[in-house]
């Protein structure tokens, strides 16, 4: 057994996290920053953090992930990191020539209490920021929240530094896609395009972290929201923010700063959440939903009708991030599946309330924990087994020990490809999720069926 020491019986722990279902803020900030065109994320702290964040993002995307660091040593940790950051800004603009440097902090620089805006101002005064280039920042203390919080903070940083109101509103909608994959961002843009709604998406990692192989490496790939677009976001007519936790803070900041009103929705994963997204966008823009989208929706509903018998009453255990889990749980409930064990590592009381609300009609007790970990999830499902696991790659250890099929979903996925190319948002994304769930369940049925009842047609 791979997780041979995990006992069935749950003893409450108050200090020890085992097999976390979250990681730290800066990696989310780094991911978000990569969604700005021509941006080099910068980790203000010692170099270990950025090495880990780059490595993890690289393993998840199988793409180059560039970032810089202030490389704190003992001295910087005692006297503060101002000198390191000034030097870094100068070196980065001289050598790598990005349009934007997006600085995030680490638990080290946060504990020291470095004042980043003041250091950036100093860099500007000293002429270390070339004209037309930008340095933005977000505070991302890793002892608060999780990688999702870090993502949210950096997206808010984009608004704080770069969005401007030009005095009038233009017929255009800002889309904040949430902490989703590059292909999901692409899909959300495509749907807005189908609806005929002009939009600005930020951040946008499509064509950055799923870039083509051309035999030429570009440190700054063609994708990403541009600084000009970010400025214009301040004069859009409204913002649709997807995922309360990851996108909410930026949307509200833009409202406060530039008076751009916002609608904050669930991530458009699954039928109902996608319906809500399309319906909201339609009403804001005053457009009719084209048939192409109705067809996509109808196909998703069709597959649910056709295969309902395989979904009905199947028990599922989930681990992941709050925004994703809320929409996914809703989708599973809509399929008449029973999501019965749900953990996220990201703290937040609302999560548990929301999940309980969504699962209130599931005819089975439901375990949910916002500050849970995968050790707890494993213990739960030892007592109350499930038919399917959904979550990141780390769940495969549980899947193997307990012999439960696993659908990979979320971050990080370190052992398969596809997540950065094939969206799970929108109706098409819903179809892909159905395909994955069915593959897992039906492969298992094929494997376990006695010879006499092995089925050709399913």
């Amino acid at each position: 057994m791979l997780l041979r020491h995990t006992p069935k019986e749950v003893k409450e722990r108050t200090a020890l996290t085992i097999n976390p279902a979250k990681t730290c803020q800066p990696i989310g900030a780094m991911y978000a920053a990569l969604g700005i065109h021509g941006c080099l994320p910068h980790s203000h702290g010692s170099q270990g953090c950025y090495a880990y964040h780059r490595s993890t993002l690289t393993r998840h995307y199988k793409e180059p992930v560039m970032a810089a660091t202030s490389s704190f040593t003992e001295g910087a940790s005692v006297f503060g990191g101002q000198a390191n950051l000034l030097q870094a800004i100068n070196n980065i603009f001289s050598v790598y020539e990005p349009e934007v440097i997006a600085v995030h902090t680490t638990c080290l620089s946060e504990t020291i209490g470095d004042d980043i805006p003041q250091i950036i101002a100093k860099a500007r005064d000293e002429g270390k920021i070339p004209p037309g280039r930008h340095v933005i920042h977000a505070n991302t203390p890793s002892y608060v929240g999780s990688h999702v919080t870090g993502f949210a903070n950096m997206v808010k940083g984009m608004v704080d530094y770069l969005a401007k109101s030009n005095g009038h509103k233009e017929n255009r909608v800002n889309l904040i896609p949430g902490y989703v994959e590059p292909c999901d961002m692409e899909e959300i843009k495509r749907l807005a395009g189908e609806l005929g709604v002009p939009h600005i998406m930020f951040p946008d990692t499509s064509n950055v972290l799923n870039a083509p192989q051309t035999g030429r490496y570009h440190m700054f790939p063609p994708g990403g929201v541009t600084v000009e677009e970010l400025a214009l976001a301040g004069s859009s007519v409204g913002t649709v923010a997807l995922g309360r936790m990851a996108s909410g803070p930026a949307a509200r900041a833009l409202d406060t700063k530039c008076k751009v009103p916002c609608e904050i929705l669930d991530l458009p994963i699954g039928l109902k959440a996608t319906d809500a997204f399309i319906d909201t966008l339609r009403q804001i823009a005053g457009v009719t939903v084209p048939d192409s989208i109705n067809i996509e929706r109808g196909r998703l509903v069709d597959v649910i009708t056709d295969m309902h018998q395989y979904f009905f009453g199947r028990k599922v255990a989930l681990a992941g991030d709050p925004d994703q889990l809320i929409s996914l749980t809703q989708f599973l409930v809509d399929l008449d599946m029973w999501p019965i064990h749900i953990v996220t590592g990201t703290p937040g009381k609302k999560f548990e309330t929301r999940i309980k609300e969504i699962t209130k009609d599931v005819p089975h007790p439901v375990n949910v924990r916002a500050t849970g970990d995968m050790f707890l999830l494993h213990q739960w499902l030892k007592s109350e087994p499930v038919d399917l696991l959904m979550g990141n790659t780390y769940l495969k250890y549980i899947a193997r020990d307990e012999d439960i099929p696993l659908v990979r979903f979320g971050f990080p996925i370190l052992d398969r490809v596809g997540h950065s190319y094939f969206p799970t948002v929108g109706y098409r994304g819903g179809l892909r999720l159905l395909e994955k769930i069915l593959d897992a369940i039906l492969d298992r049925q094929d494997r376990d069926a006695p010879e006499e009842s092995f089925e050709l047609v399913m």
């Binding site: 997780l3 990681t23 730290c24 270990g48 810089a68 003992e74 080290l108 440190m219 590592g345």
Partner: protein
């Protein structure tokens, strides 16, 4: 740009003037950066006596210059302690550090039975919150240790401090002492391996070595059976390397007391001082333990290298030579003779496909050196190499040890003062023995370093930056580059195959004879892959148009 593009000139690499390349690499840096990097980039020149030019290494990374280094915590928890299965390693800090070092290094381990302890699949963290940052985290750490103990009853618990811990002043060592006493039957020890200490993961190796030596080595005096007892140091069982090496040890009849630290166990460490010889694989990460064991217990060490078939054979002979035993030597020869035909067969096959191709290696503290031999065996030349976190002795050989200046960053890392153990010090060799071995060509405590074995005119680059890597690719268009995960996809996006030599991508083992075969085939697969011909679509190769909508 470059005046020296080998591909365009169709010139052999030797014609590329390395000094010119160096200038090109430095050309874009601000003056201060260029001045510093100039000392870390050296054109190799091997004197007849083996002396090589001095290189500035183990110095601070320059802020903003993208380096591939990690931190002290990574070197301590990730590299040295991580591969051992039965210690509960608790990361004391916010969640990130523990999360990222969870199962990502591909260290394999094989517990002796289904009941045996194996915690490597688990990640343990105190997941510090702002409350602990403000009021201190010792209380939570104590509680976490208690919870781990109650759940698992491990023999040992290791505590690892991350960046904020040192700053807020948590005394991890005091907590360790207290809990060790309280628990009674569980050894608890701590490592002050905050990421800002030292200049790279190398500091973490040293801290880990000190900790294991102080708290574990020597706890169990049981003398195991076996005529030839050895320890294997600096082998982390990435991709199963240690399994292949263990297989060879079994076949030649030497007894492996402990490996530091791949496929290993706390109990093996505790007993390791009963061995009669230490073998060092990765000199950088573990030589401290070898030195301290020699001083305290009288165990000599030799440098070995199981990367490459030739190197493996040589290392096995060295072991037999050390023990001065005819039967052992005969057995070693028998094993080599048994293994080599299969190796040779594949080697010939692969060499025909790879001969003359050129490699660059920028990795680690030993692998940039070790793997050159494997490439040589299939006719490939290493035209540039460097380490990420090594010291001068790894580059220039231990002969320079006396002349290495200890700077402030290194002084921060404790040097343990070790003395011979009053009861247990037992020199394994008398002075005559040492002399005899020297005559037989078996050098004790010796390591020549990487540069002496590289061609004059090749480039040596320490702590290579992203910018320099890109420039090198532009100038040399090497056939393969070996480095780590962070460099991998930028290199491959440039159209050059890239092999990870920290984690081996998905491959391995590459050690020993079977490993050599695996590596030959892997490199053949990579440098001769068809995929590199697919980069352009047909219409990009032949964009000219004939006419519109004409079928003929």
């Amino acid at each position: 740009m470059a005046t020296v593009n080998a591909e365009e000139l169709g010139a052999p690499v030797i014609d590329i003037n390395a000094e010119e390349v160096k200038k090109e690499l430095l050309s874009k840096y601000p003056t201060k950066v260029a001045r510093k990097r100039a000392k870390q980039i050296v054109v190799n020149e091997v004197a007849p006596d083996g002396a090589v030019p001095e290189i500035a290494v183990n110095v601070r990374t320059i802020p903003g210059i993208i380096s591939q280094r990690g931190c002290t915590y990574a070197g301590c928890k990730g590299v040295v302690l991580g591969p051992t299965r039965d210690i509960v390693n608790i990361t004391h800090g916010p969640i990130g550090c523990g999360f990222y070092s969870w199962l990502t290094r591909r260290n394999q381990t094989k517990p002796p039975g289904p009941e045996a302890h194996n915690f490597m699949t688990y990640c343990f963290s105190t997941d510090m919150q702002d409350e602990q940052i403000i009021f201190g985290g010792e209380k939570k750490l104590r509680q976490a240790i208690q919870e781990a103990y109650d759940l698992f009853h491990p023999k040992a618990i290791g505590l690892f401090a991350t960046c904020p811990v040192g700053l807020i002043g948590d005394d991890v060592h005091a907590v360790a002492r207290e809990m060790k006493e309280k628990l009674g039957d569980c050894n608890v020890f701590a490592f002050s391996c905050e990421g800002y200490k030292g200049v790279s993961q190398s500091a973490g190796h040293h801290i880990a070595n000190n900790g294991i030596f102080t708290h574990v080595v020597g706890l169990d005096d049981t003398v195991k059976e076996g005529e030839f007892k050895i320890n294997m140091l600096g082998e982390y069982n990435i991709g199963g390397d240690a399994f292949e090496i263990e297989r060879l040890f079994d076949d030649i009849g030497v007894t492996l007391i402990s490996t530091f630290s791949g496929n290993s166990s706390y109990e093996y460490f505790a007993n390791s001082h009963t061995a009669d010889l230490n073998l060092i694989m990765c000199h950088r990460s573990i030589n401290y333990v070898a030195e301290m064991m020699e001083t305290k217990f009288g165990i000599p060490w030799i440098k070995v290298n199981f990367i490459g078939a030739g190197a493996t054979a040589k290392s096995l002979r060295k072991i037999a030579g050390y023990f001065e035993n005819k039967e052992l030597s005969a057995l070693v020869e028998e094993v080599i003779a048994r293994e080599m035909p299969a190796v040779e067969k594949v080697r010939e096959e692969v060499k025909a496909n790879c001969e003359g191709k050129r490699a660059m290696l920028f990795v680690g503290g030993s692998r940039a050196h070790h793997y050159q031999e494997l490439f040589q065996e299939i006719g490939m030349e290493t035209i540039a190499a460097g380490y990420e976190f090594a010291h001068r002795d790894d580059y220039e050989g231990r002969r320079v040890l006396p002349s290495i200046k200890v700077d402030a960053d290194s002084r921060n890392i404790e040097e343990l003062h070790v003395e011979p153990d009053p009861e247990r010090y037992r020199p394994r060799l008398a002075p005559e023995g040492i002399e005899r071995l020297a005559k037989a060509g078996i050098e004790l405590s010796g390591y020549e370093g990487m540069m002496a074995e590289m061609a004059s005119g090749s480039l040596i680059i320490d702590d290579i930056s992203q910018f320099e890597t890109e420039k090198l690719i532009e100038i040399y268009r090497p056939d393969i580059i070996c480095a780590g995960i962070k460099e991998k996809y930028a290199i491959q996006k440039s159209g050059v195959p890239m092999k990870q030599l920290h984690s081996y991508d998905s491959g391995g083992p590459y050690a020993g004879f079977k490993g050599a075969i695996n590596f030959y085939r892997e490199i053949d697969r990579m440098v001769n892959s068809k995929v590199w011909k697919y980069l352009k679509a047909p219409w990009q190769e032949h964009p000219e148009l004939a006419a519109k909508y004409v079928w003929e």
